[in-house]
């Protein structure tokens, strides 16, 4: 069982739309054992079940990467679109223009969003397309085997990639500056917070960005100790594939209390510093959110929780004035009449 945090649910209890939790499962994951992305997929399943989402009203979208494979691993009864690397935002835009009544859950990676896809990401936010946009952020390119992504910490040293000389792109800051009205950060292992944020995100009016730290058990690994996977491969000539990936468990932590600080140990023995936003944090102040992010960056920790919230901007579908989903218009509403053609042509004589 991959999802320790959801073990407690009796699998066959039915929700309000008559579905069991199993009905929200996807195909078996082909990600590494212990990958943070799997934890997130589990929480999506759990939340969809708890919220009694109708699977056919949901679409799942992604780019390319380990993270972007995830949509295959949840909500098997929802349509899915595994797009091109970095281009999920545009595909989502098209899909939701065609049918703006669908609930869209997008899953991307830090490479997918922060490198090749940064432009589309920013413009998606500018248009405020109504969707949940999850970034499974591990600071590396998992699928292409361990290069730094644009969110990697400056100065971080990884075995494959060497030392990262560039400052990280903070995708929460980017989202806030781009005008996003729902920006949150969490940690894949904090199942409870991930679920709470997912639920809130699903009811947001526009794009809701969840930047979820999701450790890559395989590559985000700076430890040279024998207990890291590196032991077997570091001294070998480059191989096609990572020689050996020791089995690992997904990291699960006790939920952080509001305001709590915690040092969480990752698979390789390194630590990540998490701080839950305090109860007195005001997520409606854009500048304060940016300042808080900068402070956290300076202090080398990640703040988790809802960083910025502002539901005032209309979504793209609202701006476009859409009513009946365009994909459901009957032929007679799609093709104007013979008379209308005549009338138009009249003005060209």
């Amino acid at each position: 069982m991959e999802n320790p945090s959801v073990k407690t649910n009796a699998p066959l209890r039915l929700n309000a739309v008559g579905l069991s939790k199993k009905d929200y499962d996807g195909a078996p994951s082909t990600l590494c054992k212990g990958c943070g992305h799997n934890s997130i997929a589990s929480q999506i399943v759990q939340v969809a079940y708890e919220l009694s989402l109708r699977p056919h009203e949901v679409i799942k979208l992604s780019g390319i990467g380990c993270s972007s494979k995830s949509p295959a691993y949840f909500l098997g009864m929802s349509h899915g679109f595994n797009a091109l690397h970095g281009r999920m935002p545009s595909v989502a835009t098209g899909a939701l223009l065609a049918n703006h009544t669908l609930k869209a859950i997008g899953v991307s990676g830090d490479g997918d969003t922060g490198s090749i896809g940064l432009g589309q990401f920013k413009h998606l936010l500018r248009r405020n397309l109504r969707m949940v946009y999850i970034i499974e952020n591990n600071g590396v390119y998992g699928l292409t085997k361990g290069q730094f992504s644009a969110t990697a910490e400056e100065g971080l040293t990884l075995k494959y990639a060497g030392k990262n000389p560039f400052p990280p792109v903070d995708l929460c800051m980017e989202a806030i500056v781009a005008g996003c009205g729902f920006v949150a950060r969490s940690f894949a292992g904090d199942a409870k917070q991930v679920r709470e944020l997912l639920k809130a995100a699903l009811s947001h009016r526009g794009t809701a960005v969840l930047d979820i730290i999701s450790p890559c058990v395989t590559f985000n690994n700076e430890d040279d100790s024998p207990k890291s996977y590196g032991y077997g491969t570091q001294h070998e000539k480059p191989l096609h594939e990572l020689g050996f990936i020791p089995p690992a468990e997904e990291i699960a932590i006790e939920p952080l209390e509001p305001g709590e600080f915690r040092l969480v140990e990752l698979h390789d023995g390194s630590h990540i510093r998490l701080r839950n936003l305090g109860p007195d944090y005001d997520p409606t102040d854009r500048m304060a959110a940016l300042a808080r992010l900068q402070q956290a960056q300076e202090e080398g920790e990640f703040i988790t929780g809802l960083l910025y919230y502002n539901p005032s901007r209309p979504s793209l579908a609202e701006v476009e004035g859409l009513r009946t989903p365009l994909a459901q218009l009957p032929p007679e509403r799609l093709r104007p009449s013979r008379e209308q053609l005549e009338k138009v042509l009249q003005t060209y004589r």
Partner: protein, 608 residues
């Protein structure tokens, strides 16, 4: 007025009048407002019943660079480009060269402010004192140069015998019947006409007489026609990134949609998005097509390059999409305001890996309209990206045409399974060839059935749309896609064939080169008779093979450097490859009948 006097002194042999048959060019700088005057002229000839066509040869900037507006009037109905016989020289920067380019017997109307105009004995010169003619009109000073353009309209009207009432009618259309604007402009025309009648003596042979050759016809640009066709094809999502010469396609689309596609309460039943670039535009179209809306984008060469990755996706994941490429001159930024047929081969197999895409090749506004709606049927029936390759000449210029035929069949939405069908058959396999035509079934997101969902991906998949790296699965999917392309071969519009009995020479072409070829065909009817097959789409069907088989030599005429369609035909018709000759040329200007005649004559003389 020294120019005028000297020109008057030139000995010109008296010539018989030339009625309704001339080509005229107005040379100005862009941003001077001459387009209004030019379109007024075009529309006047049209209203007079004369077959006419106008081409704007304009620069890639906003103000101050040379622009030439070509008008061809031909009682025989020829509308291909023809070097100008009558010049309106209003641009000091190009006037010397423009004058030198006139043929003997030509006419030069010139702005009286022009200095140093070349003097030729074999031309007729008429001055146009534009500044003086607008001097008294009640408009802000800054707008005077703009109105001044109407002065040449007036002088031309005098010269050609074009009735002022016709011009008034044209101005009314041009200015959407706004009295003040019509009046201001007409006033200048009148003054110029009066001035010319009083001060000038007609010494050239050109004149117009009413005909009835444009009755019932319309005058429209290809981009407008294509956009209108798309509207009648039910387009619901359009995404694009501005690029010349596709921008006016989207402008027209927006305009038509806003008039024709609103619900009872006035809400739009469509969405148009100006994307951040062409990659995003392509992605939006893919997403929308996948979710069941008819979606299009319009672009030109550079945008096409940027869409390559998504088109490869659309091919493999089988997503309907319509992509208009209004071709301009490449490579790279090239000549953004000049016409070409330079993207055909690139579009045909756009994207990495083995890909093939149906391409529609309109040659007229009628076909722009027709392909405008048919492209959606094809895309949805075939579940694949479909290209429409127009060009700048067709897209941005005004062409005569018959009023468009209303679509003659209901929309073909292709193999889409709804909840009932799924219930009845107990599910479906997204990528399976159930009917033997290579076309699988799909469902739309939102379909209320537990077995409706499937997973779309650009990576390897089996018939059940599951991820697969298995060699057999890949081969099966790809073989079916090849089969689907054979189905496309039968579904795309067939070529238009004009067989000339006994002709040993055949010509194959597509798009707007037809006008020069059709004119050349008539003119060569005796000397070098040839048959003409005009491709209206790729892939080719059996008609093309038959045509090639029936002629000893077949010249493929196209407006690119490398003979792109010629290359495709050679590869697809290997048994006839030796007889397929490439007659390709691209300089950014539409072909002339003269060039076609010369080149065909040359080819006919070359040994087989």
């Amino acid at each position: 007025m020294s120019v005028l006097e000297r020109a008057q002194a030139a000995p010109l042999a008296p010539r018989p009048s030339v009625v309704n048959d001339f080509s005229l060019v107005v040379a100005t700088a862009n941003g001077t407002g001459s387009q209004t005057a030019n379109l007024t002229l075009l529309r006047s000839f049209f209203k007079l019943g004369l077959p006419v066509h106008g081409k704007n040869i304009f620069p890639s900037n906003i103000q101050g660079l040379p622009t030439w507006y070509h008008i061809r009037v031909s009682h025989e109905g020829y509308i291909a480009r023809k070097p100008a016989e009558i010049l309106v020289a209003f641009n000091p920067a190009t006037a010397p060269e423009d004058v030198r380019a006139l043929p003997a017997g030509g006419v030069c109307l010139y702005h009286t402010d022009l200095k140093g105009l070349p003097q030729r004995d074999d031309l007729t010169y008429y001055p146009v004192p534009a500044a003086e003619l607008v001097a008294g009109i009640e408009v802000p000073v800054k707008r005077r140069p703009y109105l001044a353009n109407m002065a040449y309209v007036g002088v031309l009207a005098w010269m050609l015998g074009l009735p002022l009432s016709v011009i008034e009618g044209a101005l009314a259309v041009q200015f959407d019947h706004r009295p003040k604007l019509v009046e201001d402009n007409l006033e200048v025309v009148r003054r110029a006409h009066a001035w010319a009648s009083e001060h000038l003596t007609k010494r050239d042979p050109y004149r117009v007489e009413p005909m009835n050759k444009t009755e019932g016809l319309i005058l429209m640009t290809g981009n407008e026609a294509g956009a209108l066709g798309a509207v009648f094809g039910g387009v619901s999502v359009a995404a694009w990134y501005p690029i010349t010469p596709s921008t006016s396609f989207m402008d027209a689309l927006r305009e038509f949609l806003s008039k024709l596609r609103r619900d009872e309460e006035g809400h739009p039943t469509y969405a148009i998005v100006q994307a951040e670039d062409e990659l995003a535009a392509a992605g939006i179209v893919m997403g929308a097509g996948w979710a069941g809306a008819r979606a299009l984008t319009a672009t030109s060469g550079p945008g096409l390059s940027l869409m390559a990755e998504f088109v490869s996706y659309g091919y493999f994941a089988e997503i309907p999409a319509v992509i208009w490429d209004i071709q301009r001159v490449g490579p790279s930024t090239g000549l953004p305001t000049r016409t070409s047929q330079g993207d055909v081969a690139f579009a045909y197999t756009l994207g990495h890996g083995d890909t093939k895409h149906p391409i529609l090749l309109p040659s007229s506004i009628e076909e722009c309209f027709e392909f405008g709606w048919k492209a959606f049927d094809l895309a949805e029936v075939l579940q694949t990206p479909v290209f429409v390759l127009s060009d700048l000449d067709l897209g941005m210029n005004n062409w005569m045409g018959r009023p468009f035929a209303y679509p003659d069949r209901p929309m073909q939405r292709g193999k889409v399974l709804g909840a009932e069908a799924l219930e009845a058959q107990g599910g479906f396999a997204r990528y399976k060839d159930v009917d033997g035509d290579g076309i699988p079934y799909r469902t739309l997101p939102g379909t209320p059935h537990p077995r409706a969902a499937y997973f779309t991906r650009g990576s390897g998949h089996n018939e059940e749309a599951q991820y697969s790296e298995r060699a057999e699965d890949y081969v099966r999917i790809m073989a079916r896609l090849a089969r689907k392309f054979e189905t496309a071969r039968r579904l795309v519009p067939p070529p238009a064939v004009a067989h000339t009995p006994g002709a040993r020479l055949g010509v194959i072409a597509y798009g707007t080169t037809r006008y020069a070829i059709e004119e050349a065909k008539d003119r060569l009817a005796q000397k070098l008779p040839f048959s003409f097959l005009r491709l209206r789409a790729l892939p080719i069907g059996p008609e093309v093979r038959d045509f090639v088989a029936a002629h000893e030599q077949v010249c493929v005429i196209e407006m690119n450097r490398d003979g792109q369609v010629h290359g495709i035909l050679r590869a697809e018709l290997p048994e006839f490859a030796p007889r397929l000759r490439s007659v390709a040329y691209l300089d950014g200007l539409p072909l002339t009948a003269e060039w076609v005649m010369a080149r065909l004559t040359e080819e006919a003389q070359r040994p087989m």
